[in-house]
Symmetry: C2
Subunit: 333 residues, 2 copies
């Protein structure tokens, strides 16, 4: 049985398409001393990985073609030449879009097999930790403050809103369809939700934030950020998590007009962060998030595609706003 691999075949010149990828089959590799062969069970599909295909500067480094597309994965150990790992162990790793990959033991994290391992790509993984640290460490919400989050039905956003609610805040989501907005309110307990594609978005955002915005968790940048800036309260905080509105284009918008004027007038703090900065605190955060999940206070939306072949389609559709919650591709049982 071959190892199916999906490679970056060409860099997108505008919007990403499935034709930017191609499948190849390779032999399944053999682990060397200290290495582990991992069978991919599920792949995380992330808007941020689009940034790695951009010609410009990105935390993902310079883009390359002819390599396996990157991505976080959960996997099962198939062969082990490392003392700490046994066949059948569940692990978190960065195998990318392929059925099998070798990893050194020290690059793996062992997972609790009692949970659905795919949760470690979502609420217990990078997206959950991103929501947690971005909201709590960068946004620093206080009880009764208003927290607004963009891409609110997305992998990070739907968790941010719920974590803000858990912290006693009024929570408003910004999402791309009326259906998403309704689900945020009905299923996750957001206080309000606004469809940014409506003509009257700016006015509706105003009406949904009668006391202004104290913390804005920005997943989008662009005009949504621009509109949120005008609703910020004095001493408000903006946690800059990502720029999904700008990833899937070769012609990014200019920055929002309120920068830096409104930052001065309103004494705003706008701060970018990456979840990796908080690695020392991952374990404690996972314990807290796990407790919220177990108590039913936090609901983790999973949005699943099936089979490795669907990964390009899953990403292209995600960038077009097709997902609700954490998008993953299930590759094997």
């Amino acid at each position: 049985m071959p190892n199916r691999q999906i490679l970056i075949d060409s860099l997108p010149t505008g919007t990403l398409t499935v034709d930017n990828y191609r499948m190849q089959e390779s032999p399944i590799p053999e682990p060397g001393e200290g290495e582990v062969l991992c069978r991919t069970l599920a792949i995380s599909i992330d808007a941020g990985s689009r940034a790695g295909l951009q010609g410009s500067a990105s935390y993902a480094g310079a883009p390359k073609t002819g390599i396996v597309m990157n991505g976080n994965t959960v996997a099962r150990v198939e062969q082990s030449r490392a003392d700490d790992y046994q066949v059948g162990d569940l692990v978190s790793c960065g195998s990318g879009w392929q059925d099998y990959a070798l990893h050194s033991a020290r690059s793996l994290t062992k997972l609790d097999t009692a949970d659905d391992p795919a949760l470690y790509l979502g609420a217990l993984g990078g997206t959950g930790l991103t929501a947690y640290f971005g909201l709590l460490k960068v946004g620093q919400p206080q009880p009764n403050e208003t927290v607004v989050v963009s891409a609110a039905a997305g992998a990070v956003g739907h968790l941010v809103g719920q974590m803000a609610r858990i912290h006693g805040c009024r929570t408003v989501g910004i999402a791309g369809s009326d259906a998403k907005c309704a689900r945020l309110i009905d299923e996750l307990g957001f206080d309000a939700a606004v469809n940014y594609k409506e003509d009257n978005f700016r006015q509706t955002l105003k009406e949904c934030t009668p006391d202004g915005i104290d913390v804005y968790f920005d997943n989008t940048g662009g005009t949504i950020l621009g509109n949120a800036l005008f609703r910020m309260n004095l001493n408000g905080r903006i946690a800059c998590c990502g720029v999904v509105s700008q990833y899937d284009t070769s012609n990014p918008e200019p920055g929002p007009r309120g920068v830096p004027g409104l930052l001065v007038n309103k004494r705003l703090r706008m701060q970018g962060f990456l979840v990796f900065d908080y690695v020392a605190e991952y374990a404690a955060a996972r314990t807290t998030i796990g407790k919220w999940l177990a108590d039913g206070e936090l609901i983790a939306w999973q949005d699943e595609f099936h089979d490795l072949e669907s990964a390009p389609r899953a990403l292209v559709d995600l960038l077009a706003g097709g997902n609700v919650g954490k998008r993953i591709v299930r590759v094997a049982e």
Copy 2:
């Protein structure tokens, strides 16, 4: 003898001109119980006051015509009906552009008569405190870090660079002429200075910041901010103090393209502030600044116009970059 007053006659539609002002003469007012009549000695000329003439939102509130132009002043008490003030006392107040004004005693600050009172409009006044709190509280520079300041030959900027040097930082100024740049290096000890009007500004800024930028003190916004963003180091801090590039226009530029993308990639913190937020710490800061001045570690550049009538010209010229250091108008001895 009348009280000469300069009024805002019309709001600028593009660049501010002296014709937006007119002079009128009024009787000198009489102090009521608890009031003090103040004779203006010197007026602070501030780029920020241009923002108050803008139709858009500003911390200075909505613009009005037919009122005396606002401005911080130092003054001498001419008549007093308040117990704490005697004729001849020197005070700091906000009389605006006029020879005389009434103030309630509690709105005044008594000044140390040993100093040139005009220093209380500069290094010991709002501009010095702005430099101090913006650099130290918002920028939080560490020894050996690189600090860059825009409008570096301006009232705030020339102090920021020197305070950064006092804190053991490498200091780079951005200014609008080669002559200003030379003076920053030769007279104030800046390590480097860059003329943003040169075609190769971006390249020169890069060469002058070989280790990147850790703290950027932004007085300008616009393209200078945009260029500085690209030189920021991981975990860099941007203190947003003002937007002088955008005040004197009715068509502000869009925000810098790197917002919020670069903030995320580099985990930058960008924070607006106003000096008023630190009023509880003014006295301690003044003591420190006064000591630096006395020791010759800090040089306060004063840039003086003479006679009340010159105030409109002094502001219009300031907005065109004509000043070096703190611009004031001396009105009386």
